[in-house]
């Protein structure tokens, strides 16, 4: 098993190198000049040229790439061209917000989707199931930026139930998390529904029922564990994506997370910061994939470990 994990990690490093390389060259292919962005619209050409030199942007791209990769191997993600902030510190400062948002959103959408999915599986094909399907489809189709603004307007601005935006107390995380939970719970409810329908038709469930086990116990004790297996794979990747930054939601609610950092870096073409965020996101995805594989074996011992 250790060997397999080792190879998976090795493969993860190859993926990270690929992501880094592609991002580096894409970031430098954009027709813009980070020195000009830093210097502002009014600075003259000589000022921009001197700043370019100080930033090391006059070196050939291959030299810049080698320098960047060398630093990265030593754990140094560099310094923002625009703010002078260390990239690793910038990500570290924003991570708690993104993490709080991701975890709260996951807790909310799982709390919504698992009971709904299990319940509709029990009532498969009935009007209630169809009604929930329609609602879930609508929820999945909602554009997140529209829902975020709508919830913000009615539940924050109009009613004052939640803070409108910012991140100055734990309450500030609830509305953004609810936004993400609504658009995601529908999909997860359908996943749980499908898994549960399949599981409820298994022989061991029939045996449990024949032995007189109560229906809630059959459902939540015996069926759910197998029924939510498909959810684990998707959840792992979704959490990784969330940790990589939730651009729209974080921006609408002015949350100082990774998504906001990513967007600002793109607007200012802050190449080291863009690459830092991409590498961080890639690490999350690679890590989540590995974790999901491990979790699969843990949840269902019949599945071989990676």
């Amino acid at each position: 098993m250790a060997t397999r994990i080792f190879y998976r990690l090795l493969w993860g490093i190859v993926v990270l190198w690929g992501a880094t390389t592609i991002t580096f060259f894409v970031a430098h292919a954009v027709p813009s000049d980070p020195a000009r962005v830093y210097a502002g619209a009014n600075a003259d050409a000589e000022t921009v040229a001197r700043i370019r030199k100080e930033m090391g942007l006059n070196d050939p791209l291959s030299t810049q790439y080698a320098r960047y990769l060398g630093r990265l191997i030593r754990g140094d993600m560099g310094v923002s061209l625009v703010t002078g902030e260390r990239v690793s510190e910038a990500i570290g400062t924003r991570l708690p917000t993104t993490l709080a948002l991701a975890v709260t959103a996951v807790v909310l959408w799982m709390a919504l989707s698992v009971p709904i999915g299990a319940f509709t599986a029990l009532h498969r094909g009935r009007p209630l199931d169809r009604g929930v399907l329609v609602v879930a489809t609508i929820a999945i189709s909602l554009p997140v930026f529209w829902l975020a603004r709508t919830l913000q307007y009615y539940l924050g601005y109009k009613s004052g139930i939640f803070p409108v935006a910012g991140m100055t107390s734990w309450k500030h995380i609830l509305l953004p998390a609810l936004t993400l939970a609504i658009v995601t719970a529908g999909y997860y409810a359908r996943l749980v529904h499908t898994g549960m329908v399949e599981t409820l038709n298994q022989d061991y469930i029939r045996v449990a029922r024949a032995k007189g086990v109560s229906e809630p116990r059959v459902l939540f004790k015996h069926a759910l564990r197998n029924g939510i297996l498909p959810v684990v794979t998707v959840l792992g990747l979704d959490v990784a994506t969330l940790l990589g930054g939730v651009v729209f939601t974080e921006n609408v609610f002015a949350l100082p997370g990774i998504g906001t950092l990513a967007l600002q870096s793109v607007f200012t073409l802050d190449a080291p910061m863009i690459m830092g965020v991409v590498i961080f996101s890639a690490v999350m995805v690679v890590g989540a994939n590995l974790l999901v594989d491990l979790l699969y074996g843990w949840i269902d011992p019949r599945i071989p470990h990676p």
Binding site: P31, S32, A49, V82, L95, Y157, A254, P256, T260
Partner: protein
């Protein structure tokens, strides 16, 4: 097969895993600090503001934008400043004199001024500050403003270890020697770049002085939670006029619409401190609201929005085509479309700028005349072109659509090319790259040279990063600008700039669109907000009542 659930089962473990993560990240966030309170609590003297994105730097040598500057000015003061009439006045200098040839400026510093670390300011601090700006390692975006100092070039090239033209004969006397006489240099010294910084504090934080600012202004940075908020508190060493505010809290993040919501819930005291002011979707509602409209303050800005016509690229290398475009576009419609938050431009200089010619007529909206000029230039049926504009900017999108419709009327088919702000700034300044694009220029200081010399002097054209984005080169204009730059007679130089502007308007390297007006919405309890075209926000003068 039935078994009893124990704490070792995956379900329980998963629960504890999630719960642990949730607690850990909230603890992590909680350790970062409390941040500003979400709502204004009665009459405390805390000014609450919101900005769309984090500021880049609080180092006066680095900060160079409309959001950073008013915050920098709460912590740093300089030699000279502007009064409400835009006249230069002594600030942390007691007096100054200019030599007869206009090349030597001598300042006597006010006694008793201290940095927020407690040390008294001396003339050597000013020598250090300006030398630091010129030092390439500082990467100051303002270094171009100081290159007229004697010895700046050789210092920047590493051929001298000091700037010859900067000296401190004694602790209170600071002397600057210029290469060429320059009446605008006092304006340059009024910019935050020239506000003194203590050498020992920069040495303590060589890489991040921007986050540990120490200056001579009435406030100090108390906390900067990156991407979240900034808090400024009174500087105990400040000896100038007392400020009533006990703190300034700046929340970071959110767009104008969000800031408007926060304002209407009383969470912030000014709806927007960006150049945009009141967001466009809310503007009409606010102006019609009997209560909110009384809380609006407005100020024309010294800025010009324009369409750049690349005079080196066909068909815009033909002056008749450029004039045709100026006649074809309905500027009044554009101003109406931006809810009258601007003044129709008839030339380059905005009305608040010295040298502004009040009787300039500009180009009237006259499509038949535009068609005739096009026909004369050999384009009787028009042509196809592409307008580069910034996609994220609502105002530019509106302008671009009006331009597209107006040009269609004279046969010019205009495609829109949306780009990011970063791409626009790079490509527009690159020679023979963008034929037609939207842009704006905001003054650095209130002098016509900051528009005419910077943007239309053909001798300043460079292959890349040119500020003369029309690549306009008229030897007659260049000569007038050169003459004006070296003139020490203010009346004569303003006349020279007027003549230069006449020629520029006639040559039409831009389609002159409008000069923006800033509209600000403040809470009724916020006092002391008096907008100024150079420094719209002077937070240190405000208070809560």
């Amino acid at each position: 097969m039935c078994s009893t659930r124990t704490s070792k089962e995956p379900g329980s473990r998963t629960f504890f895993l999630w719960a642990g993560l949730w607690v850990a990240c909230f603890l992590g966030w909680g350790c970062a600090g409390d941040g500003p309170a979400p709502r204004l609590s009665g009459d405390d003297q805390t000014l609450r503001l919101a900005i769309p994105s984090d500021i880049n730097s609080l180092d006066p040598a680095e900060a160079y934008d409309v959001v950073s500057w008013p915050l920098v000015r709460t912590m740093f003061h300089g030699l000279v400043d502007y009064d409400d009439h835009l006249d230069l006045i002594p600030w942390q200098s007691e007096s100054w004199s200019i030599s007869e040839d206009g090349r030597v400026l001598t300042f006597t510093l006010r006694p008793g001024i201290r940095f927020s670390n407690g040390r008294f300011v001396t003339a050597e601090d000013y020598v250090y500050t300006l030398t630091r700006i010129l030092d390439p390692a500082t990467r100051s975006p303002g270094q171009w403003l100081f290159r007229n100092i004697e010895g700046a070039g050789v210092f920047q090239d590493g051929k001298a270890d000091r700037v010859k033209g900067l000296s401190a004969p004694d602790a209170r006397t600071f002397r600057i020697e210029l290469i060429q006489p320059d009446l605008t240099f006092l304006h340059v010294l009024a910019m935050p770049f020239a506000y003194p910084v203590p050498k020992e504090e920069v040495a303590k934080h060589p890489q991040d002085f921007f986050a540990h600012p120490v200056g001579t202004g009435p406030f100090v940075l108390e906390k900067w939670q990156r991407g979240t908020y900034l808090r400024f508190e009174p500087n105990p060493s400040f000896t100038g006029a007392d400020t009533k505010l006990r703190s300034i809290d700046v929340r970071v993040g959110g767009d104008e619409t969000l800031h408007m919501m926060m304002f209407e819930r009383g969470e912030i005291d000014i709806a927007s401190i960006t150049a945009t002011g009141i967001p466009a979707p809310d503007f009409v509602r606010v102006m019609k609201d009997p209560v909110l409209s009384r809380q609006v303050e407005s100020q024309p800005l010294n800025a010009t929005y324009y369409l750049s016509l690349n005079t080196e690229m066909p068909p815009f290398d033909d002056v008749r085509v450029r004039r045709a475009l100026n006649h074809a576009i309905d500027r009044e419609r554009i101003v109406r479309l931006i809810s009258d938050r601007g003044i129709v431009a008839k030339g380059v200089l905005p009305p608040g700028m010295p040298g502004f010619k009040t009787d300039r007529t500009g180009y009237a909206y006259d499509p038949p005349k535009a068609r005739a000029l096009l026909a004369e230039a050999g384009f009787p049926t028009g042509f196809e072109t592409e307008l580069q504009m910034v996609a994220q900017n609502d105002t530019e999108s509106k302008i671009a659509q009006v331009v597209q419709q107006d040009l269609e009327k004279i046969g010019i088919k205009t495609g829109l090319k949306p780009v990011t702000g970063a791409t626009r700034i790079e490509t527009l300044g690159r020679r023979r790259t963008v034929p037609f694009g939207t842009f704006a220029w905001y003054q650095d200081y209130p002098d016509p040279s900051n528009f005419l010399d910077v943007l239309f002097n053909g001798e300043r054209i460079t292959e890349v990063n040119s500020n003369n984005v029309a690549f306009y080169d008229n030897p007659q204009v260049n000569a007038l600008l050169r003459q004006a730059a070296h003139s020490t007679d203010m009346t004569a130089r303003l006349e020279l700039y007027r003549q230069a502007e006449d020629l520029i308007v006639d040559d039409a390297p831009w389609v002159f669109l409008y000069h923006p007006k800033m509209y600000i919405l403040r809470q009724p309890w916020l006092k002391g907000l008096k907008l100024n075209p150079v420094w719209p926000f002077r937070f240190e003068r405000m208070w809560i009542e």
